[in-house]
Symmetry: C2
DNA sequence: GTGGATGCAAAGAATTTGCAACCAA
DNA sequence: TTGGTTGCAAATTCTTTGCATCCAC
């Protein structure tokens, strides 16, 4: 795993390269994502940043911006709510998300049965998974 | 794949066993799901049933009921919209969903790299996937 | 200085809930 | 008969959009 400061700097560079401005809300949100190292919902982020400091809408817009800049990824969840996480330059991974408290933990190794075993080892029960692929079909191209 | 009539009967039996009533909207929705053999959104189903015949709310409630009865499964999608599909007694599978027209096709074999290859063979490009596990964590139990 | 970014309000989309009328068992 | 089910309306939840103001470059 990359050092937080490094990860922050790399992200800032990506934003600059794409001509996005480095604003206070963006810096704060980026720091939060770097520090938490976990997928967060827009609301989580808004609260953690101190709800009174920046608007929820700004958080949404910037998460979207981060995604467009290739800095973050949106993770659709079972509940219909999206989580966002910083793109780690490390290997591909997924998460195990608690159905009750919505805590998300990172799972290394990407293969479903192995993942379910891993999840069980982390103390999760009633484990199920959602796996869907997305792409553009021949008809739409 | 099971014969449609058979599948319909099995589903009806499941509903009866759970003491759910066999109403017109339920029969119509079930027939639709059996026939389409593809995941549908609540709105898709509502339109296919003839929007004027049954209420969208009834469709939502019955898809929920079907899920509770173990007849159907909700599939959260990238866009935040849910799709529902009848539980096939056959093997575990997932889908490839077109980002543009939202057409969903069934993919057999559950292993991610294989699936992406399969998706490519089906003519899909820009293929990505969402894989998240859900469960109840130790803290919540 | 200027166009992108923000905050506030309001709109939107998907889904859920409340409640009286209705009907399957 | 009666409690589950439906339809209509309204509420909720998450997310996006409009617009005037503001500030990073």
């Amino acid at each position: 795993m990359k050092k937080p400061e490094k990860q922050y700097e790399v992200a800032i560079s990506s934003l600059k390269k794409e001509r996005y401005r480095i604003t206070e809300p963006r810096k704060a949100l980026l720091r939060l994502l770097v520090e938490s190292q976990k997928p967060l919902s827009a609301e989580d982020a808004h609260l953690s940043l101190g709800a009174q400091d920046y608007d929820l809408v700004t958080v949404y817009r910037n998460l979207e911006t981060f995604e467009a800049a290739g800095i973050a990824t949106r993770i659709p969840t079972e509940s219909g709510k999206s989580l966002f996480e910083l793109n780690a330059e490390e290997h591909h991974h997924h998460h195990i998300i608690c159905r009750k408290c919505h805590k998300a933990e990172k799972l290394d190794h990407c293969e479903v049965e192995k993942l379910e075993t891993l999840a069980a080892k982390l103390g999760f029960t009633e484990v199920t998974h959602v796996l869907e692929l997305y792409g553009v079909c021949g008809d739409c191209r």
